[in-house]
Symmetry: C2
Subunit: 219 residues, 2 copies
DNA sequence: GTAGTTTTTTACCATTTGGTATAAAAATTA
DNA sequence: TAATTTTTATACCAAATGGTAAAAAACTAC
């Protein structure tokens, strides 16, 4: 029997809230234990609901895992396109891009870690998605960078490796945070650490590109 | 009863061979499934021995995991010191360092992945080791880079982030190889891909440092 | 060859865990 | 108040899996 329902009942709102609470909990557990090491029991515990109730919302673990991955990927796909980082000069685009990427590492460290586990494991779940969604965007962005080179706006760098390096350098602040914390002697990375990293990396990249600067170098 | 034995009997040789075969198999499984997802059964299968025989050599999974991590770390610690990359100029040191690091990614991709899983998971096993071994070396290397800056050999870059970026960019070729393969449209990364990456990254870093070059820029 | 040691195989077990089934509160909506 | 949805509790189960115990087989040394 199909019923007509108001869109925002108390129940449906609570449901959304609880679902996202579960997803955040799942993120934490998947990030720190990997897919196999994460137990539904533990995720339920962190979500402060019973295991049975968790299963009521997410009938199985695979689905929950997929949802966590989808969530972080949607964020990336949305913010990660070079083309959409409006800016007139290559330098502006790069600065904006590195900032966006670094913000994702700061704001969604657990999602990033789950993604990292997945890719390192050979992307058993995400491979198709990478091919269908990430690759086309990557190729568009590569073209853009090549056009910059052709126009003489930047030096003749290797476009593919430019992206791999930026991604790696920004993600390392989420994925390898434990190592960085140890080496910097900090219990946890603070906003200032991310800011410093953003500045350093941006400077690296801009220098490497030999981008024609608007503002004079700061040192 | 303690017996004197010849050092290289048929048995002891076979044992060493089998042990390293097991370690390589374990590396593969830990890399693709993480610690929890890796089963002793599967590791035995790849090693072409029975599960019970595997347990004979490595009485439990934790120990096997530790051994795999130790193996890759020994390689790193050995090759990763900035100071030991002899070279007169900063540029030479950097080039040598990036090359070494990239070679590790090429030669030990699975070890690198196991390490990555471990760090992303919060380094439950390796944390102490990082503090006691990696941190002191890191601090020495930071000092060296700072001395370069003081002497005006390189520009005033952020030393810590220099290392984080180099590590991330080189390791991504091992850890995120699946993603890179997808984006480059290749089934597997070849030696030429690593070489290209090495050149690109080296150039990238050298430019970022503003190191005084010996050879004129190639473009 | 034989005793002693090392390696391999066979049989088995206890725990974990993802998930089912069911009933019944509790809360929400109509 | 009746119907629906959400939550918890109880009991349970099959498969996977890390690990034990012990006997058989292979090898080494004398």
């Amino acid at each position: 029997m199909i019923e007509k329902k108001p869109k925002y009942t108390k129940q449906s709102v609570n449901r959304k809230i609880l679902e996202s609470r579960i997803l955040r909990s799942a993120e934490i557990v998947f990030a720190s234990k990997g897919f196999s090491g994460a137990s539904m029991e533990r995720i339920a515990e962190i979500s402060k609901i019973s295991k049975q109730n968790l299963i009521y919302y997410f009938p199985n673990k695979d689905l929950l895992y997929r949802r966590v991955l989808e969530e972080i990927l949607d964020i990336w796909i949305e913010k990660l396109s070079f083309l959409e980082n409006h800016g007139d000069t290559p330098e502006q685009v790069i600065r904006s891009y590195v900032r966006e990427k670094m913000q994702i590492s700061r704001l969604y460290p657990n999602g990033s870690k789950v993604f990292a586990h997945e890719i390192i494991s050979g992307a058993p779940v995400l491979k198709d998605y990478l091919i269908s969604h990430l690759k086309p965007q990557f190729e568009r962005d590569i073209k853009l960078v090549k056009s910059w080179i052709d126009k003489g706006l930047i030096d003749e760098i290797d476009p593919e490796n430019l992206f791999f390096t930026i991604w790696a350098a920004t993600q390392t602040y989420a994925d390898f945070s434990t190592q960085i914390e140890v080496l910097l002697g900090k219990k946890q990375l603070q906003e200032e650490d991310f800011e410093r990293a953003e500045i350093a990396l941006t400077e690296f990249v801009v220098r490497a590109l030999g981008a024609k600067k608007n503002n004079s170098p700061s040192f």
